[in-house]
Amino acid sequence: MNWGVVVFPGSNCDRDCVHVLRAVLGHDVLEVWHADSTLDGVDALVLPGGFSYGDYLRSGAIAATAAVMPAVRRFAASGGPVLGICNGFQILTEAGLLPGTLMRNAGLRFRCVPVWVRVESAQTPFTAGLVPGTVLQMPIAHGDGGYLAPPDEIAQLEATGRVVFRYCDASGRPTEAANPNGSVNGIAGVAGVQGNVVGLMPHPERASEALLGSADGRRLFESVAGWLAAHRRAPRMAEGVA
């Protein structure tokens, strides 16, 4: 299948995502420049982590104004799978493609540590291949990761299975201590209304090879091909397009 990885000025996990999708998973990858206006040929899209535009003003706020964003909106509206990782998650909330916002970590510090998250919903392209309750280990590395949304919005998300990942301990219990940044309900990742747009703070691309300590993150990327097939958005390669 054909992935698109958007490169914003200041993205710094774009190359890591390309490495995992291309070298580890053997998929085709198109690097999408922030100034591009189309996503032709892309089956699934990744907004990578980093510090787009220095994260000045608010994390992700300026990238949300980038020229490529209208195309990202159209792609999302047409049901295309979109994954926002870390800064990518922040950009999606700033762009209004995902609800809520990401506040400064409760501890006020940037934190780079491995965490565990529990898969709460399999109703997304990135978790379709996973069983709810599955515990994944992935690292976080962010300063603004505290998920916040109005209480009614949170209730909605919880009720409609749009909380996709929740911080937990190694055994899957969502404890206070396991919440690294003060996110409401320990929310680590959420989905949009249609479920095809997902954002999360942990870095699956940093947990896609056992050599780096965990290969759990790879399962998010692996889920997508099956989901695409099931949703009859045949991967590009199947259509014989190189």
Binding site: P9, G54, S208, L211
Partner: protein
């Protein structure tokens, strides 16, 4: 020629009468005020290495792997399989003392551009930090600001900070040390240079605009700090913008990939002046520069301000005229400035014009080749008297209390609070993360190759005996690499000292360099680059005095197969705990006496360079052969601390038997190891040790939830694992 008295211009430019006469002799005339300022900065200690140049020649840089050595912006070493690494360490001590956040952040930005100038992609950072006691407000504030600054810049540009050091001592109270090393990766056939400019080439300015910030910063880095100056010097702090820094990395690598860039250099200290004169001097050519073409951030800047501005995130490229617009377009696409500001000339003169009028006209090598001094050196009075003190009489404390006190000491305690603020994983190369010993980074494009990195310094040892101390530091770094199976391939160093104009300081400097040289020769590892920071003096212990002599070593090692590494923590109950290296160690200048008696007394052990080199090789080969279940080097706090750390990192207890003697438990001697092996692997290890003539002692076995140290008598020491871990993790940064 007839001596000239310095004019006020020269005085303003900070040139000594002696240097001013030298400038006049080289020019055959008096410099104009702008030229005088350029000399003032280029001949500052920071840029000119006037006091250190001759001594530094002592450091060995020869190596079959060396692709580019001292003299270039960073050293480059061949790793085989078509890849090479670039490695360099820089200090940003004075700026960080004045403005901890921005001083440290621009330190990161600066060293990254040195690596970039070699054509390498910055792949990892190490930070070596020194502060006063962290229970005092000012050192705490400095530490917080510096760590935040390194995180703020390094995290944003996506270069992982994978290791470093943080040590404290009252001597750093007002003069903290901030040394940052960067490792870059480059294809061996794509190494860039600053020495290949040819007549007719275009001089291309790229990156951020030039503003008034940081003017004279380099000169400032070369003067002693005191409270008054702190306010005057405010003008010369530089502000970094990591966002632009990240764009500069990507755009520059893209520009270099075209193969059309013939020479490149970062614009750091002394900005345009340094970059133009150094490229010209190294290439044996001249340049004409039109300052009206320089992208400016502010109106009303003077020519000398433009020439000396230390605005961050700028590079200078030399490209064929025909390629200039193509290369510029790459920078523009990344949203950066790129302007042709001049051209390279046959005649070796640097000619600068501003508003159509010539403002500078001189031979580049006159600027770039600052004079080399031979300052007087004199052994510090009282050093011998200090050696005579018997440190074993200084501390009387039960073993358990001493061990827990040392584990709590900032020099030993976990620096988790620091390295968790750094993104140490971005780049998906970090196989062994910070936390214990050397970090390991895989080469994504050349598996299963990997590189190991460590930064080490021990100013206590150097204060007591700079030669032995400096040698021991190199051995400790090599020991850290050996524990992950890495073979040392490159050393970079930062030499932090007081004023070289004091004979006693200069003596310690010279001795330290001797020590570094001897140890590097013994290990056969080249010093590929580094940095000297003099004038680290400030109010300290009452009278104005220098910091401890603080050489810091960054060492990079090669791992042929990333699968063949091991960790410091005990791995399996029932494994045997083995000490590799001599049992006898010295309490002289040990952390034990410094931390528990407040004294740097006695003398550090004379390092047995040859024996150490063999011990390091033994451990490295044993790790590579998969013989060891764990390997940890013995450093600050000696054997007892190393045993405790191996227990903590492995979350396992151990029972060992040693002689009841503080020197055995807490004494220090470089290149000793605590390893663990399965009982059936022991004979193989013993055989290797015997073959290499390395002493080896089985101390006990891994197991249980306590560290139990027996002395073959009635009362052993037994400390619960939780108590050890609690002490080790107590440090709040």
């Amino acid at each position: 020629m007839t001596p000239v008295a310095p004019t006020d211009a020269a005085a303003r430019a900070g040139l000594s009468a002696r240097d001013y006469r030298d400038v006049c002799a080289r020019l055959g005339r008096e410099p104009n005020p702008t030229e005088a300022r350029m000399f003032g900065v280029m001949w500052s200690e920071h840029c000119g290495y006037k006091h250190s140049k001759k001594v530094l020649r002592r450091l060995p840089s020869a190596s079959p792997r060396l692709l580019s050595g001292p003299g270039e912006n960073a050293g480059v070493v061949d790793l085989g399989h078509g890849w090479a690494l670039a490695f360099k360490m820089e200090s940003h001590n004075h700026p960080s003392a004045v403005d901890p956040y921005n001083g440290a952040a621009t330190g990161v930005g600066g060293i990254i551009r040195d690596i970039l100038a070699m054509g390498a992609r910055p792949a990892a950072l190490l930070d070596s930090l020194r502060f006063g006691p962290l229970d005092e407000p000012r050192p705490r504030r400095l530490c917080g600001g510096v760590v935040a600054g390194i995180a703020g810049y390094g995290n944003a540009i996506g270069v992982p900070t994978v290791g470093g050091e943080l040590l404290t001592d009252p001597c750093y109270r007002d003069n903290p040390l901030v040394n940052v090393a960067c490792l870059g990766l480059v294809r061996a056939d794509r190494v860039a240079t600053s020495a290949a400019a040819g007549p007719g080439h275009a001089v291309l300015y790229a990156g951020a605009r030039t503003g008034r910030d940081g003017i004279g910063g380099a000169a400032f880095a070369s003067t002693e700090l005191d409270e008054q100056r702190e306010s005057e010097d405010r003008a010369s702090v530089q502000i970094g913008d990591p966002f632009t820094g990240k764009l500069l990395i990507e755009a520059t690598l893209e520009a270099l990939a075209t193969g059309e860039v013939v020479a490149i250099q970062d614009m750091g200290a002394a900005g345009i002046t340094c970059a133009t004169s150094e490229i010209a001097a190294r290439s044996g050519v001249g340049m004409t520069i039109n300052l009206d073409r320089v992208p400016l951030r502010e109106k009303g800047m003077r020519a000398d301000e433009i020439l000396l501005s230390e605005s961050q995130e700028r590079m200078l490229l030399i490209v064929p005229q025909g390629a200039a617009s193509r290369i510029a377009a790459i920078y523009h696409r990344w949203g950066l400035q790129a302007e042709v500001i001049g051209s390279v000339t046959e005649a070796p003169r640097l000619c600068v014009t501003w508003h159509g009028a010539p403002v500078v006209d001189l031979p580049p090598e006159a600027l770039a080749g600052a004079p080399a001094y031979d300052p007087p050196a004199e052994m510090p009075a009282g050093l011998e008297a200090r050696w005579a003190v018997d440190p074993s009489t200084l501390v009387a404390m039960p073993v358990a209390d001493a061990l827990l006190r040392l584990l709590r000491h900032p020099d030993v305690a976990s620096k988790r609070g620091v390295f968790e603020q750094y993104d140490h994983m971005v780049g998906v190369r970090t196989v062994v993360r910070p936390g214990a010993g050397a970090a390991v980074l895989r080469l994504i494009d050349a598996p299963p190759l990997a590189v190991a990195l460590t930064a080490d310094g021990n100013a206590r040892w150097c204060e007591a005996d700079p030669r032995r101390g400096a040698a021991a530091i190199v051995l400790e770094a090599a020991a850290n690499l050996a524990c992950v199976g890495a073979e040392p391939v490159a050393v970079t160093d930062c030499l932090n000292f007081g004023s070289p104009e004091r004979p006693q300081v200069f003596w310690t400097f010279r001795e330290a360099v001797e020590g570094l040289a001897h140890a590097c020769e013994a290990l056969g590892v080249p010093v590929v680059g580094g940095n000297v920071s003099f004038y680290n003096e400030a109010e300290c212990v009452g009278d104005n005095r220098a910091i401890f002599p603080t050489p810091v070593v960054g060492m990079a090692g090669l791992i042929e197969d990333v699968a063949q590494t091991t960790r410091p923590g005990f791995a399996r109950d029932g494994d045997l705990v083995v000490l590799i290296g001599p049992t006898d160690a010295a309490l002289g200048a040990s952390l034990y006496t410094r931390a528990l008696a407040g004294d740097v007394a006695g003398r550090p052990a004379e390092p047995d360079l040859d024996g150490a080199a063999r011990a390091v090789r033994l451990v490295r080969e044993s790790v590579r052969a998969g013989l060891l279940a764990s390997a940890h080097d013995i450093s600050d706090g000696g054997l007892a601390v190393a045993l405790a750390e191996a227990c903590i990192h492995g979350d396992r207890g151990a029972v060992v038997t040693v002689r009841r003697d503080p020197a055995v438990l807490f004494g220090e001697r470089a290149a000793r190891f605590v390893v663990s092996v399965s009982p059936d692997a022991l004979p193989a290890l013993q055989a290797r040790a015997h073959e290499q003539g390395v002493p080896l002692h089985v101390l006990g076995a891994v197991g249980g939830r306590t560290l139990r140290i027996e002395f073959g008598d009635a009362d052993p020491v037994e400390i619960a694992l939780d108590a050890l871990a609690e002490a080790f993790h107590a440090l709040e940064v």
